[in-house]
Point group: C2
Chain length 343, copies 2
C-alpha cells in the first residue's frame, strides 16, 4: 500500500521550524518531521525558507514577522488557499492555521484535521462553532471549547535531542517566554526578590509597556538579568545554569512547550496551577504547581526532592515527537475509517 499523503499546513508568521520564537510552527514542524521518519508522504505548507525532510510547498517567501515588506493578511490568504487548492493531492490536510483555514474546509473533499493551538479571543469562536462538526485535536484537556468534534487531546512533542540532559542543578531561577503579562514575568521577579536568588529572563518582548514598567526597573544589578530572545542553544545555556524554571502564568496555559523543554534538560519547573500546567508537570515529581508567588518561594526549598532524571523520563514518555506522532497517526486512522464509511 502506498504511503498516505498528508499536507501539514503550518503558519507563516515565522519560518518552520522557527529560528527562535514560534510555538505553532515548532509543533507543526515536529509533526511533519516525525511523520516523515515513520514513512508518511508529507508535504509541508510553510514559508519558503522553511526546512523539512518532506516536500516543501511555499508561496510566501518569509515569515511575515521577519519580513517588513509583508502584509500578514495577504500572506495568510495566499498561503492557506494554496494548500486547499492542492487538496486533491492529499489524503488528509492537517491544519495548524486556526479559524482561517476552517473557512476553506468545506470547499474540498479531502478531510481536514485542525489542531487548535489556542483560542486567541472570544471573537473567533463563531467560526469554530460553524465548523464544529469538523475534526479537531486539543493540545491539552484544559484548552477545549464546548461543542467541537474533538477526536483526541494530543500533547505537543519536542525534539529531545535539542535539549540534552544537564546532570547537575545550577543556581539561578530562569524565566523563558514572551515578555507579556500573561506569562507572569513580574511574578518571577517577585519570587527572585523574596528568595534572594538570581533570575535570568529570556524571550521576545511582546508588550513593550509591560517590559518598561514591570521588568526594566528591576534590571541593572547582578541579581536579575534580561538576556533577550534565545534559540535552542541559548535555552540550553540557561538550563545549565538553572535551579528551576519559573512559569507563573497569569492566564490558563494552553500547553507550555517550555515546561517540557526544561524538564527534558532535567530542570524542575515551578508552574502556576492554571490551564494545562498540571497536565505537563507532575506535582512533586517533575516540579511544583503553585497558586501564588509565595507558594513558589516555598517550592524552591523543596527542589532537592525532585529527581532530575525522572523529569527527562517523563518528557521522553509523554512529550516526545514520537509519542505525539503516534497519537496523531491514531487520530488520522480514525478519520480515514470514518471517511471510508462515508464514501
Amino acid at each position: 500500500m502506498p504511503a498516505k499523503r498528508v499536507a501539514i499546513l503550518s503558519p507563516v508568521a515565522w519560518r518552520t521550524p522557527p529560528r527562535q520564537y514560534g510555538a505553532w510552527e515548532t509543533v507543526a514542524g515536529n509533526i511533519a518531521e516525525g511523520l516523515v521518519a515513520r514513512g508518511w508522504d508529507v508535504t509541508l505548507f510553510a514559508t519558503g525558507d522553511s526546512e523539512t525532510r518532506g516536500h516543501l510547498h511555499a508561496v510566501v517567501a518569509k515569515g511575515y514577522e521577519e519580513d517588513r515588506g509583508a502584509d500578514p493578511k495577504v500572506a495568510e490568504y495566499l498561503h492557506i488557499s494554496e494548500c486547499f487548492e492542492h487538496a486533491g493531492e492529499f489524503d488528509l490536510i492537517h491544519s495548524h492555521y486556526d479559524f482561517m483555514a476552517l473557512t476553506y474546509s468545506r470547499l474540498v473533499r479531502t478531510p481536514v484535521l485542525t489542531t487548535v493551538h489556542g483560542f486567541s479571543s472570544p471573537k473567533i469562536m463563531p467560526v469554530y462553532q460553524k465548523y464544529r462538526d469538523g475534526f479537531f485535536v486539543s493540545i491539552s484537556d484544559s484548552d477545549r471549547a464546548p461543542g467541537l468534534n474533538y477526536l483526541a487531546t494530543v500533547y505537543n512533542g519536542i525534539d529531545l535531542s535539542l535539549y540534552p540532559f544537564q546532570q547537575s542543578s545550577g543556581d539561578a531561577l530562569v524565566f523563558l517566554g514572551r515578555i507579556h503579562p500573561d506569562k507572569g514575568v513580574h511574578l518571577a521577579i517577585e519570587v527572585a526578590r523574596l528568595s534572594g536568588l538570581p533570575l535570568l529572563i529570556a524571550g521576545i518582548i511582546q508588550d513593550q509597556n509591560y517590559f518598561r514598567e514591570e521588568v526594566e526597573p528591576h534590571l541593572g544589578g547582578e541579581q536579575i538579568r534580561y538576556i533577550g530572545a534565545v534559540d535552542a542553544s541559548g535555552k540550553n545555556e540557561l538550563f545549565a545554569q538553572a535551579r528551576a524554571l519559573l512559569h507563573l502564568n497569569t492566564i490558563p496555559e494552553r500547553f507550555g512547550l517550555v515546561l517540557a523543554e526544561a524538564n527534558a534538560a532535567g530542570v524542575p519547573v515551578i508552574a502556576m496551577d492554571l490551564g494545562s500546567c498540571r497536565e505537563v508537570i507532575e506535582d512533586g515529581k517533575t516540579g511544583f504547581l503553585v497558586n501564588t508567588a509565595g507558594e513558589a518561594v516555598s517550592a524552591i526549598e523543596r527542589l532537592p526532592e525532585i529527581d532530575r532524571r525522572a523529569c527527562r523520563q517523563r518528557v521522553q514518555q509523554r512529550f516526545s515527537i514520537e509519542t505525539m506522532v503516534k497519537a496523531y497517526e491514531h487520530v488520522y486512522e480514525t478519520i480515514f475509517e470514518r471517511e471510508g464509511k462515508r464514501s
Copy 2:
C-alpha cells in the same frame, strides 16, 4: 428559460446600502437592485441589516465598522466563505470583495467575476497576479493593473432619484468625501481662501491628525464650516447650496461616486485631473479639470459657462444604475458564453 442566478458578494464593512459612507457597498447594492429590476434572480451576500429586493444571505449581523464587538478578520473570513460554500446555487458569483474572495475562487466551479474597486496597496498585488486569469472589471480605464484579464470597464452607477436636480446654483463651494489627505481637503480650503467664497466640508474623518492640523485651524468663522458625515438627504442640502463641488484629490481617483452625484443634482465639479476624473467629468461641459488650487480658483470664474441640465443628462446617460447594469449584463453574457464553450 429560468432567470439566471447571480450572487452579489458585497463587503461587510458597512450595511448594504450604507447609511452614510461606504462606496463599495453602495455600488454592490446598486448592481443587486438593478439586476432584480431587470429580472435576474439575485442573492445579496451582505450584513444582516442590509436591504434588498433580492434574497439577502447574511452570516454577519452588522458592518464591522458599525459594531465595536466585531473582529473584521473574523467577519471577512466567515462572510466570504459562506458565499463560496453556496456557489453551487448560482450561475455566477459577482465579487466586490477584493483580493480575499479571489483566494476561494478556484475551489468552486461557478465562475467568479471581480469588480476591482481599487488597489489599496502594492502588497495585495501578488494575489491579483496569481488569479489574473479570472474575470475582472475595472471601474475606470485609469484604474487598471497590468496583466489582469479585464472583460470591460464598467463605470459605477448611481440612483439618480436620490439626487434631484437643483434648478439654480447656490453660493458655496462644497467638499464632500473622507477627511483624508488623499482627498485634498486642504486644497479645497486654499481655494476657498483665495476666492473668498464660503466652503462647506462634509464627510467622515478618516485621518484625525490631518483634520486637526489641516482643517480644524480654518474653522470657527463663517466662511469655512465642517458639518460632519451626511447621508443622501444631507448631500442634497449641500448640493442646493453649492456653486460647485471641489474635488481636488491628491492621488489618482479610482472613480469618484460623489462627482456623479453632484453632477446629477446639476452641480458642476472642479476636479483634479488625476486618475478617473477626466472619465467622469467632461472638461468645460460638466465641470473643469485642473492641476492646481490656482487653476481651481480660475475655474470658479468660468462656472457660468456650465449648463446644469447637461450635467444631469450626462450622468443619466453614463452613470445611471441602468447603464451600469446593462454593461454588467453584457459582461455576464460574455462569461456565460466562455464557460459554455469550456464545458
